[in-house]
């Protein structure tokens, strides 16, 4: 080595000479358990203090040549080490305090590693052990129910999203920013193999997140992948598991019986509802029962024969066929192997993984291959560090599954839900044709015309479609770090990311889709009867490619200074630049022959008359080709500083300027300063507060501002072009956004108070936090009146607020042969719209879709909430619904609906939980560990699905509540479902459909999962090399323990087709 140790510390010769006269204590601090370097350890001798750097090294200029060094570090047992003249290099090995693993954690912000004791902000770190508690292929799922302040909301539509500390945005991107290895990751999160992840840090408040600037407003999740540690030698690890489940229960959502439905169809038939469709020019299909009624009418002599057919139909239930033919028991397999090592100057790691997910839907199979290889070289006696990593993921997913079948239906909507007595196969399992787009009689009448077979057989069709999605994802990281001088490091990091997805959808010539497209445009020469095919014979191939790539470059300086162990100054300062571009293109080929890979040209310009409807002359061959692209550019400067005095007081601050290519906004609005300030007080380090019972007591508070963006908006009137108008064949444009010169970024200001505590050597520890998040200039879409010319207008219309408590309590009630530890998480979150300058809302729309379909910002209320009409129960005489008019019970339905106002609505509460938490217990006995997690969610409401008589009277089957409807006097005591009225009466139906009778409290508790693990006592084994060998079992989605409302539904999945499948996993984990 060229340099001696003190050279490596970057001092000039002069100071070195001066200091030689005194004693300089040099050394390093490591953890006794894993040999890790420990940063930030406090060392003190004779009134002089120092702390260790990120390599665990320290130097103390001591006055005397003999003495004692007091070594203290949170989470470790304090030590006193004597030294004398002969001491040249101290190697201090610190013993961790038991159960203190979480306390010593170093949190990663993606910009720096921060010892948690010096952090004033709100960080949650999910360590490797907790991450691996769950089994599965998605990494973010593993945060569920173990992360304070983070919830995976269930429910409907847009309300069902993962959120950190509520939602402060309305229509902009409300997604959490995900960071993978220091840079934002915008690919498919499924490309990250959880087996490669070391830890996840969740950044929740301004001090934690505002360093991420304009995109940090929704919280940040920082994923750090595994790297080689400091341990010497080579380590090999394997993790293999298999997950199985049962076939889903499709009868979870009640559906009216086929028998009831057929009788309704008979009633409609008798009153002539179908007469018009019988002669429909577009050959609207009729349900099989209706066809039989027609037969009965046409052939009265064979009435009974057809009646027997009808009786047969009454026995069928399509959901049973779905369970039998469309669904199956899922099977998931995961294999992960990894190696890492350290031979001094070179640390390396490599991993490969394979996941195969055979989902519960027949035909849907996912394959994922992933691999990482990385290396870190330390040069110039650790002053220079070079690192490089490549991560590659390849996914291949077959998506040929069918979950339901649809048909044209009477409303001429091609995706109408099929009638409940449809059948997929006969008793022997032979696939059966199902009514699709045309009346059966019509198809029979043209069977001899020379067209392609026009029948739809769902079970055969599945094999004739080939939908495959292939994705490749590559991340390449390079970094260089140079220690400029003592306490100052400069580094540069670069990441290149590219993610491509290729979706290929081939409908071969035997598929219904291709046959129907060809048939419907087939042209017949009236004189010769010859057929011609504008869409050529062959398959139809759709290709849909998405390519994205990003370049990230960051230049950063880290500095840290200690002044006589009282003052500690740390900070970073940097500049970064990001360019992410995406391209999408779609292509369609007709007449495609997969065997030879050739398609045929078509005439997109000419109009063709539909074969089945001679009046419909303006058909074109669908032209699907299009392209789009996006460019996201950011340029930022940032700085983060913390100053600590005597390990008691910490002050932190951060500042960041972001600029982006946000389209068309004035330059001064592009550049947004985002900042944070924080204070921390380590009470346990105060002399007056010395107590043996208290290991730790840390008060902290922060204030700051982060941002949020909406890339779809601009200040100008914008339009998008379309290839051609169907009628004129001219290219034309649509107005996309009207102009809005005042467009600004959203700003989210967070205040956070926190207390961390640890008592009796961590028998009890935890934290309490309170936060308040104010959203300003929140972008919202407001419904505008018809005269505005556009139905929705978007701008900086709102102010929002979210606040809540987070309480974490870790206890160890027993500690002996059996160790019982427990983590209790209690969270509250209240988010609401504070101010919204939009025009008034339409009450009916609010009631119908405010629980997840459409965001209706209402002042003082959460974004997603439930509203209803006051409900007066059912009329005892005839089962009519009773509503309220001017505060009085009323059956004047028309007037009730006409006089609706927003003030007249009942507000129930939010659609998302306002209280949630979990209780995770772990029992350890010898080599066995058992843990189970009980979760609670409450304070929210859900809307139960119900019957629609309008649907029924227009020939569409409806919900199973039909059976529970009011039928006889007295039923009103047991049911809220109005009596069936045989005429369409929309206001009457609305008074019930929008009533409070359908809304229930959603509070519930469930046993989410259980994990049982057995670790072989490898340390007792003769065989060397086995570091760990364990077997584990894991059961997920076990079920509800308690639910406040007795509705038969799981409140979290009230509108789902079936509840999440309970799965069983078995696995083995081996480390050599």
């Amino acid at each position: 080595m060229l340099f001696n140790l003190s050279d490596a510390w970057g001092q000039s010769a002069e100071t070195r000479a001066a200091e030689r006269q005194k004693t300089v204590l040099l050394g390093e601090v490591r953890s006794a358990t894993d040999d890790r370097h420990i940063q930030g350890v406090s060392l003190r001798t004779n009134g002089v203090s120092a702390s260790s750097d990120e390599m665990g090294r320290f130097r103390i200029p001591a006055d005397k040549s003999t003495g004692t060094v007091e070594v203290r570090h949170i989470g470790f047992q304090p030590q006193s080490i004597d030294y004398d003249e002969r001491t040249t290099y101290l190697t201090i090995s610190l013993e961790p305090l038991e159960n203190q693993l979480e306390e010593v954690e170093v949190v990663s912000t993606g910009y720096q590693q921060l010892p948690k004791e010096r952090a004033t902000g709100s960080f949650v770190q999910i360590d490797n052990e907790l991450l691996n508690r769950r089994v599965g292929s998605n990494v973010l799922d593993r945060l569920a129910d173990v992360t304070p302040g983070l919830i995976f909301n269930n429910g409907k539509g847009a309300a069902a999203q993962m959120r950190i500390r509520g939602q402060n945005t309305i229509h902009s991107d409300a997604r959490v920013l995900v960071i993978v290895d220091n840079f934002p990751y915008e690919g498919d999160i499924n490309n990250i193999n959880p087996n490669d992840v070391e830890s996840i840090t969740v950044l929740k408040d301004a001090a934690a997140a505002s360093i991420w600037g304009a995109r940090a407003g929704n919280g940040v999740i920082v994923i750090t992948t595994k790297k080689a540690g400091n341990q010497g030698g080579t380590q090999i690890e394997a993790n293999v598991n298999t997950t199985v489940g049962h076939t889903p229960d499709l009868h979870y959502q009640p559906l009216m019986s086929s028998a009831d439905f057929i009788e309704i169809e008979r009633m409609l038939f008798d009153r002539g509802f179908y007469t018009n469709y019988e002669n429909s020019v577009s050959k609207t299909p009729l349900n099989p029962a209706v066809e039989l009624f027609i037969q009965q009418r046409e052939h009265p002599d064979r009435y009974d024969e057809f009646e027997r057919e009808i009786e047969k139909l009454k026995g069928y239930d399509i959901r049973s066929d779905y369970e039998k033919y469309f669904y199956r028991a899922p099977l998931m397999q995961q294999y992960a192997f990894r190696t890492q090592g350290n031979n001094g100057g070179n640390r390396y790691h490599a991993s490969i993984g394979y996941d195969r997910n055979q989902t519960e839907v027949v035909g849907n199979i996912g394959n994922r291959f992933s691999g990482i290889i990385g290396n870190t070289w330390s040069l110039l006696d650790n002053r220079l560090e070079l690192s490089g990593q490549a991560s590659f993921t390849s996914q291949q997913n077959e998506n040929n599954g069918m979950t339901e079948i649809t048909y044209m239906g009477y409303r001429n909507i091609p995706t109408s839900t099929i009638f409940p007595y449809a059948r997929l196969a006969d008793e022997q399992g032979n696939p059966l044709p199902v009514t699709k787009d045309y009346r059966l009689g019509y198809l029979e009448s043209v069977a001899g015309d020379g067209l392609l077979d026009w029948s739809y057989v769902p079970l055969l069709d599945r094999d004739n479609n080939d939908r495959t999605a292939r994705g490749n994802d590559l991340r390449m990281d390079a970094g260089i770090r140079y220690k400029l001088t003592e306490g100052i490091n400069v580094h540069a990091r670069y990441q290149y990311w590219t993610g491509n997805t290729y979706n290929r959808q081939l409908y071969n010539l035997d598929s219904y889709y291709a046959r129907n497209e060809i048939n419907r445009l087939t042209q017949r020469d009236e004189s010769t009867g010859a057929l011609s095919y504008p869409i050529p014979m062959g398959g139809i191939l759709d290709m849909d490619n998405v390519r994205a790539q990003a370049h990230n470059l960051r230049l950063q300086a880290d500095f840290n200074y200690n002044f006589n162990a009282l003052h500690e100054l740390n900070g970073i300062l940097g500049y970064e630049i990001r360019d992410q571009q995406g391209d999408t293109d779609k292509r369609r080929s007709y007449g495609y022959d997969d065997r030879v890979g050739v398609s045929q040209s078509v005439n997109y310009k000419d109009f063709y008359t539909s074969y089945f409807n001679q009046y419909y002359a303006y058909n074109l061959i669908p032209f699907m080709d299009r392209e789009s692209g996006t460019v996201d550019r950011f340029r930022s400067v940032f700085s983060n500083i913390s100053y600590a005095y005597d390990r008691r007081y910490t002050f932190t601050g951060s500042l960041r300027f972001d600029e982006s290519n946000l389209f068309g906004v004035n330059a001064n609005q592009k550049r947004v300063p985002l900042y944070s300030l924080g204070v921390g007080w380590n009470l346990a380090n105060e002399r007056f507060f010395r107590s043996t019972a208290i290991d730790r007591l840390h008060l902290r508070t922060t204030y700051g501002r982060a941002g949020n963006i909406n890339r779809s908006l601009t200040a100008y009137t914008t339009a998008y072009y379309n290839t051609r108008d169907l009628l004129t064949q001219l290219p034309f444009a649509n107005i996309a956004t009207p102009r809005n010169p005042d467009l600004r970024w959203e700003k989210i200001t967070t205040t956070n108070f926190g207390v961390d505590f640890s008592l009796w050597k961590s028998r009890i520890s935890g934290s309490v936090e309170y936060y308040n998040k104010d959203g300003d200039d929140v972008i919202g879409t407001i419904p505008s009146p018809g005269t505005a010319g556009i139905k929705r207008i978007t701008g900086n219309f709102g102010q929002t607020n979210a606040r809540g408590f987070e309480f974490v309590l870790n206890t160890v009630p027993f500690k002996g042969k059996i160790k019982w530890s427990n983590q209790l998480l209690v969270n509250t979150v209240k988010d609401k719209i504070v101010n919204y300058d939009g025009p008034p809302l339409v009450p009916l729309n609010v009631m119908s879709s405010s629980d997840g379909l459409t965001a209706f910002p209402i002042e003082g209320r959460p974004l997603w909430a439930l509203y209803s009409l006051p409900w007066g129960g059912l009329d005892a005489q005839n089962g009519d619904p009773i509503g309220y008019l001017n505060g009085e019970p009323s059956k004047d339905y028309r007037e009730i609906m006409n006089s609706l106002t927003m003030d007249g609505l009942v507000y129930h509460g939010p659609a998302r939980p306002t209280r949630y938490g979990s209780m995770r217990n772990t029992l350890e006995w010898k080599q066995m560990a058992l843990s189970f997690n009980i979760t609670y969610r409450g304070g929210h409401y859900f809307k139960k699905e119900t019957v629609s008589y309008y649907d029924l009277l227009t020939g569409v089957a409806t919900h199973g509540d039909f059976d529970k409807r009011w039928q006889n006097s007295g039923d009103e005591h047991f049911t809220q479902i109005p009596a069936f009225e045989e005429e369409i009466n929309t206001p009457r139906e609305q008074v019930y459909t929008y009533s409070s009778a359908r809304i229930f409290k959603a509070d519930h508790m469930r046993l989410q999962d259980i994990r049982l693990e057995y670790s072989f006592p490898t340390e007792n084994w003769k065989m060397k090399g086995f570091r760990r060998l364990s077997l584990y079992g894991y059961v997920n989605n076990i079920g509800l323990l308690w639910s406040k409302s007795d509705t038969g539904y799981d409140p979290d999945y009230a509108s789902a087709d079936y509840v999440p499948i309970r799965t069983f996993s078995f696995g083995i984990n081996l480390i050599l």
């Binding site: 500049y575 009046y615 789009s628 068309g664 339009a719």
Partner: protein
């Protein structure tokens, strides 16, 4: 400490200045397909959006009494259409269907954006000629939309009063804004104003009938003046429009074996079409929609219109667009002949009127042989012309406006009657149900005065 501070500030300012370079880096638009509306091409493409601009609403078509639905059809159509057909006071109990109101205002917004973009251009976008034409088109579309709103949401024009309620006039694309309903006369005046400005900017005829022309301006002005009872002006503009082009299609040349006899023409090749629009809901050849018996029976022997407009199942097939999906509701020459004839009669120029009518009807009868007698008496002649107008323009959306204006005169007014499931439904002369209700959301948000229907 001071040194650190100094160094830090120096570094900070260095880093900040780094951010100032490379301006171009951020001057790139985030989405390729999102286009700022600024060029002549953009304006033209907006105004060529035929599915927005060349559409009219169907409310009038269902309500004007010419179409007849079988009972089973009435049962199966959406509730809104059933209420419109039966002239019920409440049309849309759910208040969700607002197309008759929203669509014209969407057209007005497009027109206003086009005009604002044109006004902002420097040097007329480099092509003064095209700039003028585009401004003319935008003005016409704005006038056309305001005109259509009045037909649905205002009473028939009464020259004796200034206080009839019209609709809000929208002159720019700013939002939010304060709006009120202008008076009927004000809206007509505004519309006429736009049309007069458009006239000098537009070519005599357009290469596509979806694009406005001078002829379309005159045809629409003629319609407006007819509605206002200003027969002299109605005549003047009908003549000006016909002077530009007065072709009539000889129905003897139609292929009556075809499913749709007019399918030999399309929107652009039909010789009579001046300006093309179609109804948002098509009633062409829809099972269960017929023309009422009285009207069907009024086509005399040798009148080819019966065969051209109705097929053997009595379904309406008479759309000039030649396609069942485009139910023609625009401006055409035949209407101008009828307007001209009516105006002439009203101005006591009976002989000229008869001549105009013969010119038109010649092309409608077998072998151009008019087999009906043209009345001589003024009142009879007027009634006959009005009847011919109804027969000629069935399914074109003009009847509703005609009913409103004709109901103002005791001699020409009529009560409409329908039967459904044994019940009788009526729309008496000058009923308040001749104006449709404004969408509830508009009333709530903009605070406009609602139309009363009872």
């Amino acid at each position: 400490m001071k040194l650190i501070y100094k160094t830090y500030m120096l570094a900070l300012s260095m880093v900040l200045s780094l951010g100032a370079c490379s301006r171009g880096f951020l001057e790139i638009k985030p989405q390729r397909t999102q286009v700022i509306v600024e060029t002549l091409q953009d304006v033209e493409s907006l105004l060529d959006n035929a599915s927005v601009l060349n559409r009219t609403d169907y409310y009038r078509l269902i309500s004007d009494g010419d179409f007849y639905y079988t009972d089973s059809k009435i049962m199966s159509i959406p509730e809104v259409q059933r209420n419109l057909y039966l002239w019920n006071a409440i049309i849309d109990p759910t208040e969700r269907t607002n197309s008759a109101w929203d669509m014209p205002y969407q057209q007005i917004m497009y027109a206003n954006v086009a005009m604002e973009t044109l006004t902002k251009m420097s040097d007329h976008g480099g092509n003064r000629l095209q700039w003028d034409v585009l401004l003319g088109r935008a003005l016409f579309f704005r006038a056309w939309a305001h005109y259509n709103l009045l037909q649905d949401f205002a009473e028939g024009y009464d020259e004796s009063t200034d206080s009839q309620l019209g609709v809000p006039i929208i002159k720019n694309s700013n939002y939010p804004r304060q709006i009120t309903r202008s008076f009927l006369k004000e809206v007509y005046d505004f519309t006429v104003d736009d049309l007069n400005r458009a006239k000098d900017l537009l070519p005599l005829r357009s290469d596509r009938t979806t694009r406005p022309s001078q002829q379309a301006v005159h045809a629409l002005l003629s319609r407006i003046y007819l509605n206002q009872g200003a027969y002299g002006l109605a005549l003047e503009h009908a003549e000006k429009a016909l002077h530009i082009q007065d072709t009539l299609l000889d129905y003897n040349e139609l292929p009556f074996t075809a499913v749709l006899p007019f399918s030999v023409f399309n929107y652009n090749t039909h010789p009579e079409i001046i300006f093309f629009t179609s109804s948002t809901s098509s009633f062409v050849a829809v099972q269960g929609i017929q023309v009422n018996d009285d009207l069907t029976n009024s086509y005399g022997d040798g009148d080819l219109r019966k065969k051209a407009f109705l097929n053997s199942d009595n379904l309406y097939i008479g759309t000039y667009s030649g396609a069942s999906s485009y139910n023609f509701t625009g401006l055409a020459n035949d209407e101008l002949y009828l307007t001209k004839a009516e105006s002439l009669v009203r101005m006591d120029r009976l002989e000229e009127a008869k001549e105009v009518m013969s010119t038109l009807l010649m092309k409608r009868f077998i072998n151009n042989d008019i087999t009906v007698d043209i009345p001589r008496d003024k009142d009879e002649l007027l009634r006959w012309i009005l009847r011919e107008r109804q027969k000629e323009l069935v399914g074109r959306g003009i009847r509703w406006s005609d009913l409103k204006r004709l109901n103002r005169d005791g001699n020409t007014q009529s009560d409409l009657v329908r039967n459904y499931q044994g019940e009788r439904y009526e729309l008496p002369t000058n009923s308040s149900r001749y104006v449709f209700a404004l969408p509830l959301s508009e009333i709530e948000i903009s605070g406009l005065e609602q139309n009363m229907r009872d």
